[in-house]
Amino acid sequence: MRNTARRAVQVVCVLTTASLLAACGAGKERPSEDGSAVGVTDTTIKIGAHFPLTGPAAPGYSEIPSGHEAFYEYVNDAGGVHGRDIEMVVKDDAYNPTNTSAVTNDMILQDEIFAMVSGLGTPTHRAVVQRLNDDGIPDLFVSSGSLQWGDDPGKSPMTFGWQTDYEIEGKIIGQYVKENMPDAKVGLFLQDDDFGEDGEKGTREFLDSQIVDVQKYTPGGSTDFSPQMSSFKSKGVDLVIGFNTPSYTALSQIAAQGVGFKSKWFYSNVGSDPALVGGLLASMTKGKIPAEQGVKLMDGMMTTEYLSGVDAPDDEWVKLWQKVWDNYSKKGSEKLTNYRIYGMAQAYTLVQALQANGKDLTRESIVKTIEEEGSSFEGPGLAPFRFSADSHLGISGMSVVEIKNGASEPLTPVLVTDIGDAPIEEDDSAASDAPPSSGIPE
């Protein structure tokens, strides 16, 4: 009798649970997907980015988001873009691709950003491009010159590059060396990922027969480059072309001094900031090379330039950046640097795109706007953007410069080209663009 009652209770329990679970569901009909303006309200636009705020890649790069934030503050104070304030979420990935994946996940799902803007790094951003495109999230103005952000919009329709890509940088460097140093024995110093690979590809278009040695390094790996520099020395290298980040410029200089390797140096734009490298040399040698002497060590080095920097205080754009930084930097005591200028210049392009897009902003519309109008954006870049439906690559050229007393002196006019076998041509037209008087693109 008791057993029967118990069994009845059990059966009722099971049935109730089952029907409750089934009732949670909704049967067969499903609603359709809605449009996507996630992260956009009538008064705000939320964007996000990953940067190395800590770790070996942090020096310099961690300053870029402060440039962004200062420029957005400046724009927000003037009423925002179509009445919307720009809010930026910045997350630290320590230049570790696995962290980039994790923080991007958080930005998409927890912070619900409208778009990723200027996430930094080739190996790092590569880890999240697929996800951003799968989820239909605009991935604008990646802070890296790797080709993969823009050479195949069919594969990554939401992703746009911004800076001059490493392949055309390699081409421009290669042509300059071929024409001006035809007898140089070239050693390549490369980051062992797409960054180094793209640069090598462009360089080899001109210098294939002059390259006598290639040395690679892994970011986050060994910091002693004596073996690499000894190899250059033994192969008789007298010109090193480096596609590396700033810390590795300093490390390669220290190692070259250590093994007594003398050479001319040509660092690509990424690794060549004299002020930063000078500071790094001082801190890495614990003051044995003082910062001033470190900057001096950079004298005579060649590099490239696609933006005017702090060494050109009379440039109209630099004047604008200085004004914005003086009034809107969160850490008032810190100086304007080339990395902050880089951030503000990217922010300028974003505001330009949002202005051009008009009031009705969706994830799809911003991509369309940049494809249709991006190539006519006038901005701080020395060469125009290449944005179109067929190419999402950014600035189309740069000039070769030599570093003297921490400032850059042009060796060539602005050289403009495209990937592949597109010819390299002189074109100073975009270099004379000046900012509007308000400092905010219209």
Binding site: R7, G27, K28, L53, N99, N105, D134, D194, G220
Partner: protein, 372 residues
């Protein structure tokens, strides 16, 4: 337990008395509950649950090895790396577009890790205590670096992992999930369901193994290897089997991790990962599967909770990120100070103490009744 059995009644008695059936029933109930919770959660929480699932699988394997067989491994992060790379290479070849691709990749990950488990387990079986720890530590340091040696492993920037899009999943799965949860299945929830399904299956297998003759041998070897050997147990064999089983769990976890992170790169498998896994096991309670689950939950949720807390307290993003390891360390210290047997271990002793007191009280009560 007695009381539970009496409530469940005669219907449940034959089921709960067979360990396999009991474990299956518990796992099924747990999976249904997990499915309901996952379905009702935001995508963000779903990724956390998926993370918890693969950490729990790895921690489950480790807790069996360390808690039952008494071998301390500091190299489980490396075994996860092996599983992750194996699964990634398979998914890369097959395209990773269908459910079959996913299961083939995970099976390969388990198989490769079983092989590595044997290879590492044989020499490790000759070692004791700190020496095993040292040997496996080498594994944790060396294995991720291999990726920089061979180009096929993608170097420091790693390999991207293709995952099936929700639309490519079989219609019956889409319908089933929709029917139960009223939410369309997407990549995030798919990975969470997959993780918890495999977690349930793994725990059934591990729990069963630990209740079986194999598990009893492990305990015997752990408690006194000399008497175990006198009793006819082959020490080396028992240890190698334990290491292999544990490596297989780590391999499965690594494969799932690759799909969730969508990238397999050396930076994911630092020595910290191995240590964190061990911390999760100790936190939950050494040798206990529920403990491994709790430890994994702490791993998946605490860092984000701490960061959010830091940010809401007005810290900058960088500062908040730096607070996380401090909070994690504090929690670990508190657990070890206040609950040295781990969370589950301490709860268990609390419950048994309480039931002993109550049975004592009732015994006293009944004697009183008799005397009066």
């Amino acid at each position: 337990m007695e009381r539970l059995r009496s409530i469940l009644g005669p219907l449940a008695r034959p089921i709960t008395s067979v360990p396999l059936a009991r474990h299956l029933v518990v796992a099924l109930i747990a999976f249904v509950v997990a499915m309901a919770v996952i379905g009702a959660s935001s995508q963000y929480l779903q990724t956390r649950y998926a993370e918890m699932a693969y950490f729990a699988i790895a921690a489950g394997g480790l807790t069996l090895l360390t808690g039952l067989s008494g071998q301390l491994s500091l190299g489980h992060g490396a075994l996860m790396a092996v599983g992750a790379y194996a699964a990634t290479l398979v998914l890369d070849r097959t395209g990773g577009e269908t459910l079959a691709d996913v299961f083939v990749a995970l099976l390969v990950a388990i198989a490769v890790c079983a092989l590595v488990g044997v290879v590492v387990g044989v020499p490790a079986a000759r070692l004791h205590g700190p020496y095993i720890a040292g040997a496996t530590l080498t594994l944790a340091v060396a294995v991720p670096r291999l990726a920089n040696q061979w180009h096929v492993l993608g170097g420091e920037q790693g390999l991207q992992v293709p995952v099936p899009r929700a639309a490519e999943l079989p219609a019956w799965i889409q319908d089933l999930v929709w029917f139960f949860t009223a939410v369309e299945i997407d990549q995030y929830s798919f990975l969470a369901y997959l993780g918890w399904l495999l977690l349930a299956l793994t725990f059934v297998a591990l729990a069963n193994l630990s209740r079986s003759r194999v598990g009893r041998r492990w305990r015997a070897v752990r408690d006194d290897d000399v008497s175990a050997e006198l009793a006819g147990i082959h020490l080396g064999r028992a240890r190698v089997v334990a290491f292999t089983v544990s490596a297989m769990a780590a391999g499965l976890a690594g494969g799932l991790m690759a799909m969730n992170v969508r990238l397999t790169a050396p930076g994911a498998f630092t020595i910290t990962l191995s240590l964190t896994l061990l911390a999760a096991v100790v936190l939950g309670g050494l040798g206990s599967l529920p403990g491994a689950l709790i430890g994994a939950g702490v791993l998946a949720f605490l860092p984000h909770f701490a960061t959010d807390l830091g940010e809401s307290a007005g810290l900058s993003a960088t500062q908040a990120a730096e607070v996380t390891p401090v909070v994690y360390g504090l929690v670990l210290m508190l657990v070890i100070l206040l609950a040295p047997a781990g969370i589950v271990g301490s709860l268990r002793s609390l419950v048994s103490r309480a039931s002993r007191t109550s049975s004592l009280a009732s015994a006293l009560g009944s004697t009183k009744e008799k005397t009066t």
